[in-house]
């Protein structure tokens, strides 16, 4: 088979972004070997990043499947996750129980937030992605005031001088940093593989897979594929979209907590602003579109995207030591992928 035919076959089967990113990743890995970098550490780091971002990416599935498109308003769920994380510290909880309680507390908060979000999305059918993006931006800005005003008292979290309002970055060391990553961690050539976090991600993938096979999940997929068909089959389309949005927001909250425990900090204020974009980029690289997404898209997309980011940084820095070039590459890749995907959606209609 000649190279052009092979290229066409691959891009037809896996989609253009997936093939391109895979190639880039392969080139970076070869580069890393040639530069004699610590490839094992890179792999371990990649695994950490995959596990820490996975659930945020998974949150895209219910929103896409229910027909509201990519959830650019995921920052809403991220904020409720952060809030739950702060409450766990305020209650002076520590370790795994602090993390799990934060997860449990985030669920009702996210559900309420998701319900309000879903209500708005049902009013703006056809423009969910645009409205979601700006709604996310608005709520992030609004919560920037909220973080200052919320009556948290824990000295670990409030500004040291003055004593009112939460800090921009709250360290989780001594609280629940790395509780999942260190759970059943496996040594790997001097690094550690975060078994617990990977298992946690896998558990949620399994739950999502089961949900999509349930009666409600099937109805949701029908509402997303063809709302007219669903309505004619007696399925309440708005309700299915609402369910999809609520689940997506809840997963956003949980995903944020997983991210935070791995990262070791809660980042408030403007930090959640751009997080949905990384998640959308990952699921799109995995081969999803604004109308179709599967667990396989999530897993493969997260692996490719996060591995690329992890590997590209040291390789590019070693090749051309110019400031933050790798960061620029990361922004070009993630925004480029989103742009590409949106051109394929036809404006969300």
């Amino acid at each position: 088979m000649n190279p052009m035919a092979l290229w066409k076959k691959l891009t037809d089967k896996y989609g253009f972004p997936k093939v391109c990113i895979s190639l880039m990743l392969a080139i970076f890995f070869i580069g890393a070997f040639m530069q004699k970098q610590d490839v094992a550490a890179m792999l371990a780091d990649s695994t950490v990043r995959i596990a820490m971002n996975g659930i945020l990416v998974l949150a895209m599935v219910p929103s896409i499947v229910s027909g509201t498109g990519l959830n650019f308003g995921l920052s809403l769920g991220i904020i409720t996750g952060l809030l739950a994380g702060c409450i766990a510290i305020e209650l002076d909880m520590r370790g795994m129980s602090a993390f799990l309680w934060a997860v449990v507390m985030s669920i009702p908060l996210s559900a309420i937030m998701g319900y309000a979000y879903g209500w708005i999305l049902n009013k703006v059918k056809g423009d969910e992605m645009t409205v979601g993006t700006y709604l996310g931006f608005s709520v992030v800005s609004l919560m920037s005031i909220g973080w200052l005003l919320l009556p948290f008292k824990s000295p670990e979290m409030i500004w040291a001088i003055g004593g009112a309002g939460l800090r921009t970055t709250i360290a989780l060391s001594g609280r629940y940093a790395k509780v999942l990553d260190d759970l059943f961690a496996i040594p790997f050539f001097g690094s550690k593989l975060p078994t617990g976090a990977v298992l946690f991600f896998a558990l949620f993938c399994l739950l999502m897979w089961l949900f999509l096979k349930s009666k409600t999940g099937v109805a949701m997929a029908a509402a997303g594929d063809n709302p007219k068909f669903a309505a004619a089959s007696g399925i309440n389309v708005n309700r299915q979209r609402m369910i999809g949005t609520v689940i997506s927001t809840v997963l956003g909250g949980i995903g944020m907590l997983v991210y935070a425990q791995s990262f070791g900090f809660l980042q408030l204020y403007q930090a959640p602003l751009m997080m949905p974009f990384a998640a959308t980029a990952a699921v799109l690289i995995g081969g999803a579109s604004a109308r179709k997404a599967t667990i396989a898209h999530v897993v493969s997309g997260t692996i490719l995207f996060q591995a690329l980011l992890t590997v590209s940084l040291p390789v590019i820095n070693a090749a051309m030591n110019v400031g933050n070039l790798s960061e620029i590459i990361r922004i070009i890749v993630s925004n480029g992928v989103i742009l590409y995907a949106l051109t394929k959606v036809g404006g969300g209609h």
């Binding site: 349930s214 009666k215 999940g217 099937v218 109805a219 997929a221 068909f229 089959s233 007696g234 399925i235």
Partner: protein, 534 residues
Amino acid sequence: MDAGFLLELRNIEKEYFGNRVLKGVTLNVKPGEIHALVGENGAGKSTLMNILFGMPVIYATGGIKGQVVFDGKPVEIKSPKAALDLGIGMVHQEFMLLPGFTITENIKLNREITKHNPISRIMGDSLKSLDVPAMRKDAQKALQTLGMNVDDWLPIAGLPVGYMQFVEIAREIDKENIKLLVFDEPTAVLAESEADKLLDAMKKLAARGIAILFITHRLDEVLAVANSITVLRDGEKVGFMTQEEATIEKIAEMMVGRKIERITTTAKEAADNEEIALSIRNLTVTMPGEMVKNISLDIKKGEVLGLGGLAGQGKIGIANGIMGLYPSTGEVYKGKEKLALNSPRTAIENKLAFVSEDRRGVGLLLDTSIEYNIAMTAMQIRGKFLKSFLGIQAIQMADDKRIRAHALQMIKDLDIRCTGPTQITRRLSGGNQQKVCVARALTMEPEILFVSEPTRGIDIGAKKLVLDLIVKLNRELGMTVVVTSSELGELRSICDRIAIVYEGRIETVLSPLASDLDYGLAMAGKYSTREEAV
């Protein structure tokens, strides 16, 4: 060759992808003549008009055979611009007007009268200013020709529909070289008095020497104004008559023609069964383009009822209204039970099922597998194909094994040609998609099955299969079937009774063996008036 003809179409043939829609049509129009073109939907009228206007769709699909002679010269009309240059004008069924512009501006759009100003003398013609008084004078002249007294500086938005129609016509006759005007069902949207005014205007135009080609379904209008009449049926010219020879009966009979082959030889006994399966009272359905106005109809148990009529008269709206897809008012009783309207769920729960005319829009999940398409509605409403999750009753999971088995059975029973039950329905041919829709309806085990336009967009072989299937469901499973179709022949071949819908009302209910004349009159809305006269 008669040099007196303005337009001669000689033996026009046209194929769309191997489907012959025009089979050698000949049409001659004299200057100053009103020539009516009548025929059922799909008779080839629109294709003929598209040819006359050089619409891109004609030449994108391989062009035509035959000859077009205009004003004594053979011409090839390859673009709408060419048609305009020849002096052929069109009055569209849907208005092509800019609502925010005044009447004059609309009439003169893109043909504005301009004059020089100091800037345009330097910068070129595109900056010339409009000569508004001259434009208004022209517009007034055109409007007066049509016998219309209205301020030409009013905006279009807010004018009565009838006026808009006149503005369209005024725009056409304002073109200096206009020789032939085509009216495509101009009276469809007009009230009776407005329609009369329009017909008067047409006569005036004809008196000025402009030839008019008049397409309509309203036979009395044809008789009132047309000098000559051509009847098309199935892409063939089946008749030509002059005003003197024509009668409504004659036109009606020609339009319908005998083209039925009954699959079942007699109207079935069930037609005499008086048990009512579904009773419709005062049903009004707001479905754009297919309005149903206050219909009452009884559907007998075990019959195949046809709903026929021309496009846009409302036959499609009936099933859509009962199934809750479009807002409706009135009462529908199944047996003694009154069904709530505007709720697809209630309709499905009461064992009604619907195969939509809009197959790709409503009937299918195009990116979902065949098996899930078939099982979806039954699963959601009937609770079929479900199993509990690890014994927890509250969590209902799709039972893939049973879904697969059922889909395989349906694929076999209905002979759905596919690569397997997991193929997505977008990749199937029209006929097989239709079978998937039917399979989904059957999976709900309905007592009453509504099938709309079952053979639309399906090739001839598959058509027969789908119709046979409907008959089989009725005869073997005793299912009550309501078939809505634009193809009268199809209805007459399978139905026990046929209700003809005209302007949102039931014109009459006919036996499939009734005469072509009766059908022609009923479709043209003349059946009841004639009955009264007799």
